[in-house]
Amino acid sequence: MKAVGLRILFYLAVVLLALIVLLPFLWMLISSLKTQIDIVAWPPKFIFSPTLQNYYKVFGEQDFIRYFINSTIVAVFAVGVSLLLGLPAAYSIARFSQRRLAMVILLARLMPGISFLMPWYIIFSRLGLMDSYVALVLSHVLITLPIVVWIMSSYFETIPLELEESAMVDGASRHYIFLKIILPLSGPGIITATTLSFIFSWNNFLFSQVLSMEKTRTLPIAVFNFLSYADIDWGGVMAASVAIMAPALVLTMIFQRYVVSGLTMGAVKG
């Protein structure tokens, strides 16, 4: 009997935990389907007739599709550049145990972004690069590059050295080995690095807030700008929030295994 009681208690705790985690997402989704009248009702309404008008509003009137495209452009290029720069660097770090180099690149992940942002702002203004995709992508690469290097250097370390040694005996160059032997074996690592760095670029607020204006404005800024109206259109903001979170959440569900390993590997390795 005691065991059954404990089991019930355990599942209650798990359900409570799941509810707490889910509540903000659910409330966001529910509110996005409400009319403004239903949202401001007191006590809060749990039963109401759902409407898609907020979504029509957001995507119709608010130019959201353009911000969506901007966010995608910036994230895709940031991830691409990070892979281009990060994969060879990570390989070198893994093969030659360049721990100091790894630390320097990791520092970019740890340091507060705002300490680079002010100088960037000044420099990019002088170069006429404010509100340009170039400036935005460069700034986002500083977020995504450390993720790629961190994940991939750990991944490359797990590939057995014997593979490379036998290829070297056969006269293959390092370059050839990296491109034709190591990279094809690195699929899972590259998926992890790509997914995570895409999400972190997608979610970035601070860099885009300062470096982008009308032309290159990304989604997080667009959502935030909703708030600056005196009378907050909660339904619209919530629909916009659903739209901005959906891609990251869907990616996470698809690549769950990779995202978990990417987020936890550093700490477990020590």
Binding site: V21, V40, S92, S115, I123, G171, H175, L206, A267
Partner: protein
């Protein structure tokens, strides 16, 4: 295929070179530039060039009550958030570290807050906290408790922001500790069980000490990130009401991009930078100690 001998023998610096150049250009140089700006008197909007004034910005900013309060608040926010996250996160990990129906679903759910856009999270919590239509006060009142003013009052704003951080980042600690627990060997716990130890004794005396290095690393990672919290505070309160939720990151932003007082802003950024750097050095030291 062998003509690449030069590349081959120098691969250890050719391969990382582009990444190194990038980091130098976008990270090292800006930090040096910020250091220089912190020694100048410069308001971007004035149109005049920066003039060198030595350390007087430091004297001015470091003694300013608004700065000192933000500094103190940054620590209060960081330590209270991470302390709660550590306790809840480890507890949840110990709870979930067993085989049960729906384990994979729960693990997926735990991932969702970590990848949720912080600005949007902040906005959703704003709706929760709204004093007239928010769910938070509705829940409190349903339980017969008085409603709170949450983010609209100076006394409760920091606590309300800590709650958001706790919601979003506790799962990070849970997942890291779960991964740590999964990598442990069962043998010590089994041996203790055979010797008649109860579950609580096993957790306290065997499991927790074994997984402690992982917990410590997770907590330090969280500390570093919590020190830099910007998005939720900026989106939810903008540092207000008044200055009541301004952290270093927030006033750094305001001095730079609202007041354009670049010299003084640079001092704030330097302070934040040095604090985070100190924590980062601590984490690497710790990492080396754990490896040994």
């Amino acid at each position: 295929m062998t003509q690449n001998s030069y590349t081959d023998s120098n691969i250890r610096w050719i391969y990382p070179l582009p990444a190194i150049l990038f980091v130098a250009l976008l990270m090292v140089f800006p930090v040096l530039y910020t250091t220089y700006i912190s020694l100048t008197n410069w308001t971007l909007t004035s149109g005049t060039a920066p003039s060198f004034i030595g350390l007087s910005n430091y004297g001015q900013v470091l003694l300013e009550p608004r700065f000192l309060q933000a500094l103190w608040r940054t620590f209060v926010f960081t330590f209270s958030a991470v302390a709660v996250e550590a306790v809840l996160g480890v507890a949840a990990a110990l709870l979930l570290n067993r085989v049960f129906v729906g384990r994979s679903v729960v693990k997926l759910l735990l991932l969702l807050p970590l990848v949720a856009t912080p600005v949007a999270v902040g906005i959703v919590f704003n709706l929760f906290y709204d004093p007239t239509i928010g769910l938070a006060n509705y829940v409190l009142e349903s339980l017969g408790l008085p409603g709170s003013s949450w983010i609209s009052h100076a006394d409760t704003v920091l606590f309300s922001l800590v709650l958001v951080d706790v919601w979003q980042w506790t799962p990070m600690i849970t997942l890291i500790v779960l991964a740590g627990l999964a990598s442990l060997s069962d043998e010590p716990a089994e041996a203790a069980r055979i010797d008649g130890a109860n579950e609580w004794q096993i957790i306290r005396l065997i499991t927790l000490p074994m997984v402690m290095p992982v917990i410590v690393t997770a907590v330090i990672l969280r500390l570093i990130d919590a020190l830099k919290t910007f998005d939720i505070i900026f989106a939810m309160t903008g540092g207000g009401p008044g200055y009541a939720s301004e952290t270093l990151n927030l006033i750094g932003y305001k001095y730079s991009f609202e007041y354009f007082r670049m010299g003084q802003a640079a001092v704030i950024l330097m302070v934040l930078f040095l604090i985070v750097l100190a924590c980062s050095v601590a984490i690497t030291r710790l990492g080396k100690r754990i490896e040994r």
